[in-house]
Amino acid sequence: MKDNKGQQKKDSSRRNFLKLGVLAGGAVVSGVGLSAIAGNPGSTGEKVKVMTTDGKLAEVDSGMLHSCGSCSSHVSNEEARKGIPGRKFVMVIDLSRCKNARKCISACQNMHYLPKDKEWITVKLMQESEETAPYWMPKTCYHCDEPPCTKVCPVGATFKRDDGIVLVDNERCIGCKFCMNACPYGARIFNWEKPKGIPQEILDRPYNIESGAPQIFGTVGKCDFCPDMTRKGMLPDCVTACPNGVYFFGDLNEDTVTNGSETFRFSELIRDKAGYRFHEDLGTQPSVYYLPPVDRNFPVESGFKGLSEEEKARYKVNED
């Protein structure tokens, strides 16, 4: 996270300062991170100063701290499969703000070293029926709590972590594509060919399960909520890249989401803005919430501005 100074102060006095963390406050004190799990091992009597999500200094018992040797981007496969302890990541996408700027898509491609034809995020032009208003809807992986994709994987190459993230291990994936059929949202993208237009230096890097790079030919990839960034206490690139502040990212345990400049209490945001999840009826329990496309002060057509002809044509697909 780049900047926390402008964030709103909400009920900071009532907050349990233990519910703070690496993500929102940059609370890393000399290689030591805070565990956000309630009920951490007992006190030692020694106090350590840390920064809260509100940017305040606070003292906590050193018994609440744990070593953060794993905060580097290179974590072991085993750790990467477990996830970041105490976290439950959540995303809120504000549809009232999306103008199809497509910066999330290119940022994601840069971040994960994806070729230009691989889009882990897509932006759909939705219109439920003729009478209802059209709107732009970014679609990431929903990191479902009941993921149909991980259920069907024959080798456990895709899995659900404790922190809520659904990841793919491209070094284990056998490329059977069953998960792509199991996912009703089409969140998964196959690496149909050897990557084009990616520097050799990147391709030569050892594969990192948390950065998802470099993507491996013949396996499945998808939006991964950038666990290597979140492990460092930073926001996923799509969130920071969005010029309209559409994406909010945060931790359900902390009940906080931020788009980098605004921070909200997650539960209040969902309550006040009538947040919902896409197709709740499918029972997949997504970790991505949408805020309805209300009170927009721009025409939906503005989303076509600046698009290439090829991109424009994608929205005229007559599929039926």
Partner: protein, 449 residues
């Protein structure tokens, strides 16, 4: 082993087919091998360049390969179910045709799973299925079921062949090579036709035919669940397992009738494979067509009547003649009704007609498999926007067609080679007197229709 005169006589009839490799055989083999080599080249290209050279893309991730997979596993039912059941019921007329049926099973069970492998992005990681296999995944169910099925059907075929292998071993006059003679000796595992051996063998075959029937049912059910366990319209259906099983018996019977027709013509087996066989198996085909039609009707009626949006979008593609309409109507109307009409009317029920409608039904069932897979995948829940337009619709490329033709060529080629190795009609069975039939007498039921 002492070979009686009756057997000698029968074997004499078949020895030309075992000994001679005539020109027609050689030319046909050359053509089939050429097709298979081309398929091999396509496979090499696919492994080298990736699946990008197939027609599959991010929406339609399974295509022709999976359709072929379901199809071949389907026709493998010929041996497993039909031959298994007929053996258990001790139906006398089964004798000349069971080997054809068992050949179909074994060959199709080998070819089918190859198509799953073709669909895998990383064949080199196949061993991960063993290293990291998760029993929760329907693919692992499939791996277990199909492996069991392959072993089971091999055993079933082999046990039923031992008597003939022993006969071939002990027939000195055959003009065959040294190695082949040795292989008969090896494979006959010392069968001498003693009373005890005979009893053991008979019991083994009976046990195997009882085992192979549930295995076959499980295999196709698990296969159906690969589709049924996903949140996709047209797949997520509770009747999918029985629907697939019926489709499999239907197509298996069809292919069996076709193979009978070919062998009858090519090897002049009119004495063994008679009108009766076509009548009886035609009746089975008719019954399967009726049940299959009933399932199809039930499946599409319920989907269509409620017309839930996502379902309705798939159905619209099926019914629309500008999209998959013609294929759909061909597969469900022609492929289903034609066998019922032609076989149902006694006047039309000639050998050639039964074989013809079988071929049409088999083709229709292949089309149906394609229609189960592709239109569903072309209809994602979210609008298929913001993906590359050319990625929305599926059409197979030369690679997929080459490998499909390669599979068919392999099927025919393996059949030709196997029928050169052992007589296509079980010599030991047809030369034996009739067994005591089981309780069920099939004949009168059929005559009255």
């Amino acid at each position: 082993m002492e070979i009686d005169n009756k057997t000698k006589e029968v074997l004499k009839e078949f020895s030309p087919q075992l000994e001679n490799f005539n020109r027609r055989f050689k030319i046909l083999s050359a053509i089939l091998i050429a097709i298979m080599l081309f398929a091999l080249y396509a496979f090499y290209r696919q492994e080298k360049d990736g699946h990008i050279i197939t027609g599959m893309r991010d929406n339609v991730v399974w295509g022709l390969y999976i359709a072929n997979f379901v199809f071949f596993i389907g026709i493998s039912y010929a041996g497993a179910l039909i031959s298994g059941i007929l053996h258990l019921l001790k139906v006398e007329w089964r004798k000349p045709i069971i080997r054809i049926a068992e050949f179909i099973t074994v060959i199709a069970t080998i070819i089918g799973p190859l198509y799953i492998l073709l669909c895998m992005g990383r064949l080199d990681r196949l061993f991960n299925l063993v290293l990291y296999g998760r029993i929760q995944s329907p693919i692992i169910w499939d791996v277990i079921a199909i492996t069991t099925y392959i072993i089971g059907s091999f055993l079933f075929l082999y046990l039923a062949m031992i008597r003939d292998l022993a006969i071939l071993r002990d027939t000195p006059g055959l003009k065959i090579g040294k190695f082949r003679r040795w292989s008969y000796k090896f494979l006959a595992i010392g069968y001498q036709g003693t009373k005890e051996q005979d009893k053991q063998l008979e019991e083994s075959i009976t046990i195997m035919s009882a085992i192979i029937i549930p295995i076959a049912v499980i295999v196709h059910s698990v296969l159906a669940w690969i589709f049924g366990m996903t949140l996709r319209p047209g797949w997520h259906s509770t009747i999918f397992a029985p629907y697939f099983v019926i489709a499999a018996i239907f197509s298996g019977t069809g292919v069996l009738i076709m193979a009978m027709w070919f062998y009858r013509k090519m090897f002049h087996l009119e004495k063994y494979i008679t009108k009766k066989h076509f009548d009886y198996l035609g009746m089975l085909l008719l019954i399967m067509a009726a049940i299959y039609g009933y399932f199809t009707f039930s499946e599409y009626l319920t989907d269509w009547y409620t017309s839930e949006t996502w379902n309705a979008r798939v159905l619209k593609k099926m019914f629309d003649i500008n999209q998959y309409g013609w294929w759909f109507y061909f597969s469900v109307l022609v492929g289903n009704l034609l066998p019922i009409i032609v076989i149902g009317i006694k006047k039309l029920r000639t050998i050639n007609n039964v074989a013809l409608v079988s071929a049409i039904a088999v083709l229709a069932l292949w089309v149906k498999r394609y229609l189960i897979i592709v239109p569903t995948l072309e209809t994602p829940l979210l609008p298929a926007q913001d993906t590359r337009m050319e990625w929305v619709h599926y059409s197979p490329t030369w690679v997929e067609w080459a490998l499909t033709m390669g599979g068919v060529a392999f099927f025919i080629f393996a059949f030709m080679m196997l029928s050169k190795y052992v007589p296509i009609v079980p010599v030991s069975l047809v030369s034996k007197p009739a067994e005591k039939a089981a309780e069920v007498e099939v004949k009168p039921t059929v005559e009255t229709v």
